[in-house]
Every structure is written in C-alpha cells, then in structure tokens.
Amino acid sequence: MTSKVLNRSQMPVSTPATGSAAAKAEKQHSVRRLPLLTCVVIGLAVLALLMVVSASVGPLRIPLGDVTRIVWAQLGLGDGSGLSQRDVSVVWQLRIPRVLMGVLVGAALAISGAALQSLFNNPLADPGIIGVSGGASAGAVGVIVLAGGSITWLLPLGAFLAGLAVTGLIYVLARPGRNTGTSRMLLVGIAVGSGCQALTGFFTFIADDQQLQTLTFWQMGSLAKVIWPQFWATLPVFVAGLVIILLNARTLDVLTLGEREAQHLGLNVKRSRLTIIIATALLTGAAVAFAGAIGFVGLVVPHIVRIVVGPGHRGLLPISAIAGAILIVAADCASRVVAPPSEVPIGLFTAAVGAPFFLFLVVRMRKSSW
C-alpha cells in the first residue's frame, strides 16, 4: 500500500490565521473588551442618574429637580428656599440613606462574588459559600424570635456577628493541612450552611405570627428600614473591605491559575486566602445585616462584567462594584413603584432578574469560558 503524499502547498500549516476559516476561528476565540475608562464613566453616570430617580419615586413623588436641590441644600452647596419641609425630610431622612446603603450593599455583594469566584477558582462561587449569609440569616432570625429584636440595631448586629462567627467556624474546620486547597472549604461551607438552615428553620417554626412577618421580610431583603446612623456605622466596614479587595487585584489574577501555581509565583497563598475571606466576610456580613439576604448579585454581576471588561481584576473588581450598586439601587427603586404603597422585597427582583439571565448565560456559553 502506498500512502498518498500531499503536495506541499496543500499541507496544513500550523501558523494561525491562514485562510478565512482559521482567521474566523481566531477572531471568535479572541478576547474582546471595552476600555476600562469608558466602563467606569458610563457606569458612574448610570448609577448617579438612578440614585436621583430612586430618591424621587415612591408613594410620594418628588420631582427630580427638587431632589437635586434638596441634596445640594443639605450639603450646604445650594439654596433650599421654597422646598416643602415634608419633601425635604422624605428625601433626606428616608430615601437618601437607603439609596446610599443600596450603593454600598450592591458594591459589597458584587465585589465579594468576584473575589470569591477567583479565590475558589470556581465561577459558581458566591458570598453564600463562605457561610456568611447562612450564618447571618440564622443570627437575624434568632434575634427576632428569641430577643424580639428591634430591626434598627439588634437585628443587624446579631446578623453581622453570627455571619462572621460562621465564617470563622468554616475557616477553622476547613483549615488546610499542609497541602489541601479550597475545595475542602467549599464542602465544609455546604455542610455548615445546611446546619445554619436547620437552625433558621427551627426558629421560623417556633416564631409567632408577627415575628414570622418580620423575619420573612428580612429574609427576602429590603432597604426600607435604613436610617442615617446605620449608614455611618457601616460605612467604615464597607470602605475597609472594598479597599482591601481592590488592593488584592493582582493577587486574585494569579489565584485563578490555581493555588499551587500561585505559590510558585511567590504568593503567600495562605495569607492571601485569609485576607480575602476576611474582607469578603466583612462586606457580605455588613450587607446582609442591614439589607437582608439578597441573592444572585454576587453570582451574576461578576459574570456579566467579565464578558465586558475581561477577567483581569484591575477592571473586574471596580466595574463589578459599580454594576452591583446599579442593580441594587434599581431593584430598590422598583420595590417602591411596583405596588405602592406597599414595598416588594428587593431579593425578589434580584432573583427574578438574576436567575433567568444567569440561565441564559449558561445556555449561551456551551464551553465554560467565563
């Protein structure tokens, strides 16, 4: 049998981008990104606009122009004459704190999701995975049922501390020996999360009707009860967490290669892992404490942002924070206009928007190129 030898010109050449088919494949598999600055500018503009809109809508409609005048006047930058006292107090005492808290909560959840997905090298990780949400829920429900806690301080404090305690517990239980990675932590997180759910279920079971209403409302997420002192009390926690994560952008890039590789590149993996987990636990704990369990933000937002600016954390982290803030402010705004005068929990919106969108992403990308 003689084998047929191809003419040299017919031989496949392995250099890329020869022939239109190869060029097309090459183009399809190339990374496409929007410039970072463009995204930041557009994102901040959209966020600012939404914040003003959100402060204007609700059971009492206040014109956009008045909202900006009230804010300027309160900041001592403008003249507040001729504004009704009622409008001023609605905007400044009720709406602005919740809008600002919405910004912090959205930024915190989204940036935590982005950081945890890279830390666990798993695109499906979200802040729930380190146990903070489950712990916070159990803590909040426990406070409501056992202490009849006021939703202003006792409940958020209980939720925050319980969230951190559970994160600490998971970290200690999953503390890697010499050589185990984060997969152990995922498994411990799932197990401890189930335990927290059982505890939450137990408290729910023994709760009376009024307690049940409070805890259901909290569990679905809402910014309705946010007041200025809460905003100021949590601001340092949010700022510290956001700054720590932003400073770890390059660390997170390398962690996507896996922990072993990151160690070979000179990263102190144990210390980085601890730093990132503490920062995300603080952020998520503070967010969940005041806004309740708002799902899907930490999971979905980073995915969408990766498609736009790529997986590099120098862009991914800040843009995720802005996009998360946009999503929560928009959801909070919607929660007030859908069925006035009652408010629909924010968690319903984020899940209603997030779940189908996420499914769409998963179905569209057959190959797992996040």
Partner: protein
C-alpha cells in the same frame, strides 16, 4: 500585598540567616537533595534520594509511571516537605524560604494547566512577572520574547480557555520563562506537544542552560532525555536507581530492569547520540 512585601525579602537586619538571592556562579551547586524521603500513610513515594543540581546543567528525571518523579519535583518546589532528609536551594532549606524570594529563585511548570477564566494568552504569560517589581517596558519585552519563543505569535489575544492542551502547555512554559529564575523545574513539559514543539521547547531549555540556569525536567520520552539532558536521574519505585550522563545511565539492561520493557540501543549514522527502541 500584591507583590511580595519588602519586609518578606531578606535583609541583613533579620536575626535568622536568610537565603541569598544572588545569581549563582557557573557550576555552583544550587539544589542539594539529601536522603529525601516522602511517605504518605507509611508508604514511601520517594525514599532516600540524594543528588546535587548545578548551575548550567539540564537534569532529566525519568522513570515509569508512579516511580516518584512528580513527587520529587513537588519536594524540590517546596509544595510538600520531606518526611525525612532535606532539600536545600542556594544553601537554605526550601521550607525556610519565603514565597517571594523563592519565586525569584526557582520557577515551576506544572503538568496540568487550566483556567476557568478567559484571560488572554498575553495576560496569562505576563502573570509570570508577579515576583518582580513592575517595570512595564522590561516586562512587556520579556513577555513578547517568551511568546515568540513558544511559537504563540498571533495568539496574544486568544482566550486561554479555548486553547488546546499543547497550546496551554506552551503558554505555561512561556510564563515559567518570564519568571527569569536561575532554577527551573519542568514537570513533563512536552507531554502534550507535537514533534516540532517538543523540539523547540527543549531547545529553549538548552538556551536557558546556556544562560547559566539549572533545570530539572521530568520526561517520559527517553530519547528526548538522551538528546537534551546533561544528566539523567532514573527513578524506580521511589528510589534513585541511576544518576549519570544520559548515554551512560540509560543502558539497555537498566531500562529493561526499571521499566520491565526490553529495548535496543542503536546509534544511527549521522546522529550523535544513541536511540532506544522498544522491542
């Protein structure tokens, strides 16, 4: 926090003597393994291995599957600590090194390289500069050179999650190269590569050696070891069964004994090293 902190670098002020980061002189012993033993549940995966690695040599680690080659490489890299014995890099135990300085001393290319995130080839290679202070121009030049060298030109903007196994291995090798360390550990770098890229990768390895680096490379293809290495360490069942020049160490009888596979050693005309053929 991002790069290794200044405080993690050795300073004269530190009480404990810290490893020197200076570039080794030619033929200096840079890695010293003594009686290295690694046991899991009482079973020794590597037992009593001793050898030196000198600057300017390519040492091939060969042996059948499960002989302990990759475990040995993990021990050298500092991923695991020996149960008994010691591994020294530039005169200090691997475990004594802080991650930052160690990453400026030795680089490691692993067998499996996959990412879940769509970094571009260029970004993935650039990550190899992490241990060093940022110098954008110098870094970009090194990355470009490594990309060209790994035959990845035209792939710079490719999404790394869409690469084939061989392409991913070349990205990983390029990343190892831009780490510019005097000691390089490679775990089966050629396993996924086609014939031409196997040759070009090992030619790059020879160039690193020419620049004074010390290289340990795990290889399955004994003919590649014969052709490209200065010394071969043959592993069998966790033990070092032969250590010497490739032509001296890889005899027909030793290969048959270690692999349980008879081979013939031939020397084709015009080829200046022997070739092993299974029979």
């Amino acid at each position: 926090m991002v790069r290794p902190d200044p405080e993690t670098r050795p300073t004269p002020a530190e009480a404990r003597p810290t490893p020197a980061e200076a570039r080794p002189t030619p033929a200096e012993v840079v890695v010293r393994a003594r009686d290295v033993t690694f046991a899991v549940d009482g079973r020794e995966l590597v037992s009593g291995v001793s050898f030196d690695l000198r600057a300017g040599e390519v040492v091939a680690l060969v042996g059948p599957n499960g002989a302990g080659k990759s475990t040995m490489l993990s021990l050298l890299s500092g991923d695991v600590s020996p149960t008994r014995g010691s591994v020294e890099i530039s005169g200090a135990e691997v475990g004594e090194w802080k991650p930052g300085p160690l990453a400026r001393m030795r680089s490691v290319m692993l067998q499996h390289n996959s990412s879940n995130f769509a970094f571009s080839v260029e970004e993935a290679v650039h990550m190899g500069r992490l241990p060093w202070d940022v110098d954008a121009e110098h870094d970009a030049a090194l990355v470009a050179e490594a990309i060209t060298d790994a035959d990845l030109r035209g792939f710079e903007t490719r999404d790394i999650t869409t690469l084939s196994g061989g392409e991913a291995a070349r990205v990983s090798f390029a990343r190892t190269k831009v780490q510019t360390t005097p000691i390089v550990f490679l775990d089966e770098p050629t396993a996924a590569l086609d014939l031409r890229h196997q040759e070009s990768l090992l030619t790059s390895v020879r160039q690193l050696r020419g620049d004074g680096a010390a290289i340990v490379v795990v290889l399955h293809d004994l003919n590649l070891a014969l052709r490209y290495s200065d010394r071969v360490l043959v592993f069998g069942d966790g033990r070092l069964v032969a250590d010497g020049g490739p032509a001296e160490a890889l005899t027909e009888s030793l290969v048959e004994e270690v692999y349980g596979q008879p081979v013939r050693r031939v020397r084709p005309e015009g080829i200046d090293h022997p070739i092993l053929i299974p029979v």
